[in-house]
């Protein structure tokens, strides 16, 4: 009940927000919210800490930029191409990493993401240090001009909502039930006949694909794909957003992304601008020490306690 109400309020806020706040900032938030929710699918629901999700985000950003700018694909197809490429990267990385547990899984994903990063630095299609600039936003179905920020905002919102719905559905699906069982007691899941590696791999590929969609969308919004998107800082930032908002909750990572994007934006113009990473670091430490379940996790526990 409270959850439904919460979603309804959030939806209304998202619909009216661009009349009060700068749409590009809101779109940045939506892209990172999608990225964090996708990441949470593997961390929160698959129980695996990937430290290389920037490779999917950044990889898709480049593919989409290239597909739209150089191949001249329509925007919708460009986005799909980016997401699909991230899914394929996820499949390859997942097949190498999925058998590992805990810290080894994190290390392999980090190593693979670093490999991808060096590839992006040297490959010709990424534009190296300059990145891919001036990617045209194009039109939606050849009719709506996405150069208009309002149109672009609602397009971004629609994609975000669809992906968010898919993630929520995945968590509450037959597949999601098996994932829960695996996270709860893996040896028991094996003894009931589940090939747990295949389930984890599917979760990883889904997570990578949707992280890619987030990166692809980001390219279209900012008309830019750059090395920043694929840097390991980005992998760390998405971990931070997810933990801050509430790992293993459906909406938490989006809230965490909102907090981080808002802070970055507020601090960037003030006297603390050089200290943004430090401030984020301090917040992270406070969060880990005092409310481990994250914003949404703590809120949920509070509501459960008081009713």
């Amino acid at each position: 009940m409270t959850t439904k109400l919460g979603y309804a309020v959030a939806l209304v806020l998202l619909l009216i927000a661009p009349f009060f706040l700068y749409p590009v900032l809101l779109m940045k938030f939506l892209c990172f919210a999608l990225f964090a929710c996708a990441f949470n699918l593997i961390l929160g629901f698959g129980g695996l800490l990937s430290f290389g999700h920037a490779a999917f985000f950044g990889g898709a950003a480049y593919i989409t930029g290239h597909a739209i700018k150089v191949w001249g694909l329509p925007t919708e197809l460009g986005l799909l191409a980016g997401a699909a490429a991230a899914g394929i990267m996820g499949l390859a990385a997942g097949m190498l990493a999925i058998r590992r547990q805990g810290i080894y899984f994190a290390m392999i994903t980090l190593a693979l993401a670093q490999m991808a990063y060096f590839l992006f630095i040297s490959a010709p299609f990424t534009g190296g240090e300059n990145g891919l600039q001036g990617v045209p936003r194009g039109t939606l179905l050849g009719m709506v001009d996405l150069q208009d920020n309002m149109a672009m905002y609602y397009f971004t919102l629609a994609i975000f909502l669809a992906a968010f719905w898919l993630i929520a559905r995945t968590v509450h699906s037959p597949f999601g039930q098996v994932l829960r069982a695996i996270r709860d007691n893996e040896p028991r899941a094996v003894s009931l006949g589940y090939d747990v590696d295949r389930y984890k791999l599917q979760a990883f590929v889904l997570s990578a694909t949707l992280a890619g969609l987030a990166g692809a969308l980001k390219t279209v919004v900012f008309q830019l794909a750059s090395l920043t998107d694929a840097h390991w800082h980005m992998s760390g930032e998405v971990v931070l957003m997810t933990l801050l908002g509430g790992v293993g909750t459906i909406a938490g990572p989006a809230v965490g992304a909102g907090i981080i994007v808002a802070l970055q934006n507020l601090l960037a113009s003030g006297p603390l601008s050089a200290w943004v990473p430090v401030v984020l670091g301090v917040i992270f430490v406070i969060c880990v020490l005092s409310f481990r379940r994250g914003v949404i996790g703590e809120l949920r526990a509070f509501i459960q306690k008081s009713f």
Binding site: L166, R169, T170, H172, S173, P174, F175, G176, Q177, V178, R180, A181, D184, N185, P187, R188, A189, V190, S191, L192, G193, Y194, D195, V196, R198, Y199, Q202, L206
Partner: protein
Amino acid sequence: MSEEHILVTDGLSKDFLGFTAVDNVTLKVRTGDIHALIGPNGAGKTTVFNLLTKVHQPTRGTMTYDGRDITRAKPAQIARMGMVRSFQISAVFPHMTALENVRVSLQRELGTSFHFWRSEKSLRVLDERAMELLTMVGLERYAETEVHEMAYGRKRALEIATTLAQEPKLMLLDEPTQGMGREDVQRITELIREVAKSRTVLMVEHNLGVVSALCDRITVLQRGAILTEGTYEEVSSDPRVKEAYMGRAA
């Protein structure tokens, strides 16, 4: 398909860093029997189960189940072939309800377990069967309880329901009544007798009352090796068996 022996191990051995936990075990479990594996603590009973269900690879020896060599099979594959186990230390899904625990075991047969786009409401067709199984182990009142809140004995009972949900041909039970009150032991004993009418059961059990009430054949393990085998009368009158147990107690 109707082999005389559903499970045969030949010279099965397992070494852990030079220590032989299972030593040249040749075990034959007759189809339809309730077969007990007993022996003092540390005799290697659980390790035999771990070898059968591929948690460990055997160091030497072979295993044949249902006429097929399973020495190199994969763990999940064993379960799909109909050999399903319960664990000595209760193995449940603690953050799911009792009903969900059983349902996730039933779910595999629907063939939708990879479907991430389908609603979990589609699993409700299994609820009736899941309730039946919970009722069999006396847990119908706890269907909606999250399992980490349940008492230990009830978790053990739930694990049996979850195992039964797989409709195993060969059910491996590792000390199913351990940690249960007397009434529950009674109930589980009756339940095992009932479900064993249509399947084979291999069980590790310390409660000799349960063993004598249920088991057709008994294998006694000591320090990893088979000490003797026979009916309850044969085994319980064997002086070496008494010594094996006494020797530990002294």
